[in-house]
């Protein structure tokens, strides 16, 4: 039993903020905001420390903690459920992403939230714990609990601080994700029934090691390929809702349109990445054969996502919706990376997750700043904002370029890697997918230029430019984007060992 408390401290560090917030009177808005922002800094510091201390050569878990929690009695036996945390190359970048976006969203909260700050920050801290926990947990059960922990506060944040149709959107969000988590729970329990373990590592070992009894045909506990395929598809549906993948994406559109800025930031930056993470960690990690079998299907889904998202983004009249469909499109790239089923592809997928997380958060932040000033996000109303807000216009363009995959930015690296991976396996699909990139540039430029350039209407002339508090996080995030763009090894190296550990088992 390893007992490294580090990740526990990391995951639960927002609790400090939570407790402090609980004791601050609701009238002291300044203090609430300050604590709200400051409380998101310890996770960043600790995840950076974790990053620094990470051993790149080791494929297995690091900072692992394993404490027995309770046991599930099943038919005369009791199976222990442990409190297991740990990170490997796959999850560590995402932990860092979660903490950065957390900080970013907290600032967005301080800037854009106009009422009930106390409740907001408390819910936000709970959500932050959930986000960090999802990536640090090494146990199906724990994963599920943290997953739900992101869901419920999100529901509240959307429902309370959202726009006109907030309640409907919150309900829709809850139901879609509820169904997803229910399916996930069923699969987890079914997996547990078969393998009698909840630990990621053990399950992975049991399902992929050729000498484990579950993989030997003659063994009584052999799990047939059909069963594995069933698990795979069920999990795919669960994560497809979260990611989202094309036919199951409708919740996202309403959610993005109706949610307040911090919620959108968190959602586009971290929450939908949970789906992709799950896909990599569970679908591919546990059922490599099935994944291999369905790789074509996944790739096709990815391409559909890219093209469909891009086309819809092209015709949207609302800035937020453009970004929402752009998210859909970009998650298609993640899917392509996963479908590649090789190290490069996976690397691309993770790159894309991190990159899109940062870029989308930045873009949504910018849109919120615009909305804050103009009270509109309709493209037809906006225009020529660069004149009154030059700094914002610049950042907006940069972010859009990063999203479209301009070299030197993280988007380029990630998209390039992902497609590179897929080209090796399925050149045709990859070729079609690249069309999406072109669309991306088109719709993003249309949106950005439509907003910032052109003639400036009278009413937009007096708009104030970005405040220091707004500028700070934008610059930090942009810094990360550029850092990844120019020095991708900062991200690729730690994950190398882990991914190399996954890949050999694909295709057996």
């Amino acid at each position: 039993m390893e007992n490294n408390m580090f990740l526990t401290l990391l995951t639960f560090s927002p609790v400090i903020g939570l407790v402090l917030l609980a004791f601050i009177p609701r009238a002291q808005v300044g203090a609430l905001k300050l604590i709200g922002i400051l409380a998101t800094i310890p996770p960043i510091i600790m995840s950076l420390m974790m990053y620094a201390g990470f051993d790149y050569t080791q494929p297995g878990l690091q900072y692992a903690q394993n404490v027995s929690w309770f046991s599930i009695p099943v038919d005369q036996m009791a199976f222990p459920v442990a409190y297991q945390l740990g990170v490997d190359g796959l999850s560590m970048p995402l932990v860092l992403l979660a903490s950065i976006i957390g900080f970013f969203a907290a600032i967005a909260g301080a800037v854009f939230i106009k009422k009930r700050w106390k409740e907001f920050f408390i819910l936000f801290m709970i959500m932050l714990i959930g986000m960090l926990g999802v990536f640090t947990s090494q146990n199906l059960f724990l994963f599920f609990i943290f997953f739900e922990m992101t869901l419920i506060p999100m529901f509240f944040i959307m429902g309370i601080w959202g726009f006109e149709q907030r309640e409907k959107a919150a309900m829709k969000f809850l139901l879609y994700n509820g169904v997803g988590s229910a399916i996930m729970l069923i699969v987890f329990v079914a997996l547990f029934m078969n393998v009698w373990s909840l630990s990621f590592v053990e399950i992975k070992e049991a399902l992929t090691n050729p000498i484990s009894p579950f993989n030997i045909q003659e063994s009584p506990s052999y799990i047939t390929a059909g069963t594995r395929l069933g698990f795979f598809i069920a999990l795919l549906i669960a994560f497809a809702i979260k990611m989202p993948i094309a036919p199951l994406h409708t919740w996202m559109v309403t959610a993005y349109r109706e949610s307040p800025a911090p919620a959108v930031l968190v959602s586009s930056g971290v929450l939908i990445k949970i789906g992709a993470y799950g896909l990599l960690r569970f679908n591919v990690g546990f059922f490599p054969e099935a994944a291999q079998q369905l790789a074509g299907f996944l790739a096709a889904l990815g391409v559909i996502n890219i093209i469909y998202g891009a086309l819809l983004a092209l015709v949207q009249k609302n800035l937020k919706l453009v970004l929402a469909y752009s998210s859909l499109s970009h998650m298609g790239i993640v899917l392509l990376g996963v479908a590649a089923m090789n190290t490069v592809g996976f690397q691309g997928a993770i790159f894309q997750m991190v990159s899109h997380g940062l870029v989308a958060a930045l873009l949504f932040f910018i849109v919120s700043v615009i909305f804050e000033r103009t009270s509109t996000d309709e493209l037809s109303d906006l225009g020529g904002l660069a004149k009154s807000m030059p700094f914002l216009g610049g950042i907006f363009l940069t972010a859009a370029m990063a999203s479209a995959g301009l070299p030197g930015m993280s988007g380029f690296i990630s998209e390039f890697t992902a497609f590179l991976g897929l080209f090796k396996e399925m050149p045709v699909l990859a070729a079609i997918g690249t069309l999406g990139i072109i669309f991306t540039a088109v719709y993003l430029l249309r949106a950005v230029l439509g907003t910032t350039y052109g003639p400036t209407p009278e009413r937009w002339l007096k708009l104030a430019d970005v405040q220091p508090l707004e500028a700070l996080p934008m610059i930090i995030v942009l810094g990360f984007i550029v850092l990844i763009g120019v020095y991708p090894s900062v991200l690729s190296e730690p994950m190398q060992a882990t991914l190399q550990n996954i890949v050999p088992r694909i295709g057996g």
Binding site: I72, D75, L185
Partner: protein, 509 residues
């Protein structure tokens, strides 16, 4: 040993101490109540009742671990099964009384305050007999003691038309249900010549072999239909919404928790003990099929229908108590699942869920009571803006609702989770599937209340005054719900080690 005290005196009557305590307390309460009619505030009677519950619980704890003791020719039986259920009943009743202190104390609605307290305790006495009897006669008497007391409890707001109506409906349905139950029992008796469920277990297989299959099945169906009334499960659930809506809120809470748990105590004991040995060897020499297998299938189907009906009908309700009624139908469905899967752990699971249900439902009803009385409306919109009026109450309510919906980390989640696990272990995939699917459906209406509390502006923003007794209930329920959610193993282990359910079918020492 023939003393002048006769053969009855040889039994160890001390094991009946909990029942005697309650009986004595009811008597005492009645007498004190009658001779202090000049005192305006009647709450001290209720406090006496709560004290009685506590003392009785202490006596139950004295019996815990004492093994199986039978008295009165095996018709009264103290075993782990009965003890744990008695504790649930005692806790539920104590909370009901505590809740009603406030309901009764400040309202003009209930003229017969003393009666309210006595009847709650007599109903409790009925449930305790239901948990501890091994004879159909005493079981039935216990059942009726509970039923008749609760009919009156439901109608105790006698100037309230809704209360009258719901009492009438409850009575008619209850009486029909008990007639059906009795009809089933009469066949069981006719086939076996006994009403002792252990003798029944011995003789029913013989009767089955002798060509009375049809009668046995008939008896089972009648029994189950009649008893499904108490737990408000399909096929006898339709009374619940009307009755829950019309009854005073503490009574509704009592019905949904204690009465339901008692129904489960009865069904499990009778059905399992008496039908477990019946095996159909088939006329064509095929594989022998235990009747319990067929029972399990039927119960499974009924559980599924309960979950579906309860959760979908709840979506349409705007009255919060009506909604909780459908929710409780659905919960009855979940609670029947362990029975339908029938693992060795079914008792632990049922009891665990019942304890969780006790805590979350009592907490929820305490808050519902406060809110609906304050707004003088039972519409869901009464909850609008509750968060601004009393944030802590709203948070507690949220936790209870999340727990009812089965969202971690809560007692309700683990209750469902364990049940879900075992239904998967027994490869009852369809049942597990329905369970999860209907749980998701239930998010809709549970979150409907949450939505009201946080996202809608209320008619008033004045602070909601919460009486101390309600605070106590809510705090206890909150701690319980969250605590069990954090360390579910502790409770389960406690149940497992202290209440070995194998005692249920063991012979007495």
């Amino acid at each position: 040993m023939e003393s002048r005290w006769g053969p009855l005196a040889q039994y160890d009557w001390s094991v009946m101490a909990p029942e005697f305590t309650i009986l004595a307390v009811v008597t005492l309460m009645t007498l004190i109540g009658l001779f202090t009619s000049s005192v305006k505030d009647r709450r001290f009677i209720g406090w006496l009742g709560i004290l009685g519950c506590i003392v009785a619980a202490w006596f139950v704890f004295q019996n815990v671990g004492g093994g199986v003791v039978e008295i009165l020719h095996g018709s009264f039986r103290v075993d782990a099964y009965g003890n744990i259920f008695k504790l649930i009943f005692l806790a539920g009743t104590a909370v009901t009384l505590l809740m009603s202190m406030n309901y009764i104390g400040d309202g003009e609605e209930i003229q017969h305050q003393d009666e309210f307290y006595y009847l709650a305790l007599t109903a409790l006495l009925g449930t305790m007999f239901m948990a501890s009897s091994a004879d159909l006669i005493t079981l039935f008497v216990g059942l009726e003691l509970l039923s008749i007391s609760s009919y009156i409890l439901v109608g105790i707001r006698k100037n309230n038309l809704q209360s009258n109506e719901s009492a009438f409906k409850y009575l008619i349905n209850g009486a029909i249900a008990s007639a059906i139950t009795l009809y089933g029992i009469s066949f069981l008796y006719g086939l076996s010549g006994t009403t002792n469920i252990f003798l029944l277990a011995e003789r029913l297989p013989e009767a089955f072999m002798a060509g009375n299959q049809f009668m046995i099945y008939l008896a089972f169906f009648l029994l189950f239909i009649g008893l499904s009334f108490k737990i408000a499960a399909v096929p006898y659930h339709m009374w619940a919404p009307d009755v829950y809506q019309g009854a005073a809120t503490p009574v509704t809470a009592f019905l949904s928790v204690v009465s339901k748990a008692a129904g489960f105590a009865l069904i499990l004991r009778v059905v399992i003990t008496s039908f477990i040995g019946v095996v159909d060897f088939g006329s064509d020499g095929g594989e022998p099929v235990g009747m319990i297998d067929e029972i399990m299938l039927i119960v499974g189907i009924l559980a599924a229908i309960s979950m579906i009906v309860g959760n979908t009908m709840a979506l349409r309700q705007s009255n919060v108590k009506r909604m909780m009624a459908y929710s409780s139908i659905a919960q009855a469905g979940y609670l029947l699942v362990p029975f339908a899967t029938f693992t060795v752990l079914m008792f632990e699971q049922t009891v665990f869920y019942l304890i969780a249900y006790l805590m979350m439902n009592m907490g929820a009803f305490a808050i519902i009571m406060i809110v609906t009385r304050d707004r003088d409306s039972e519409d869901i919109s009464a909850f609008a803006g509750l968060y601004h009026r009393s944030p802590l109450l709203a948070i507690a309510m949220t936790v209870f609702l999340l727990s009812l919906a089965g969202i971690p980390i809560s007692a309700g989640f683990f209750g469902k989770f364990y049940i879900f696990m075992s239904s998967l272990v027994m490869q009852n995939y369809w049942l597990a599937g329905i369970m999860v699917a209907t749980s998701v459906v239930s998010y809709f209406y549970y979150f409907g209340i949450i939505k009201q509390m946080y996202m809608r502006p209320g008619e008033t923003d004045s602070r909601l005054a919460v009486p101390a007794s309600i605070i106590v209930i809510v705090v206890l329920a909150f701690i319980g719900t969250v605590g069990v959610g954090l360390v579910p193993g502790t409770l389960l282990d406690y149940i497992h080690t202290n209440f070995p359910f194998a005692e249920m079918i063991m012979a007495a020492k």
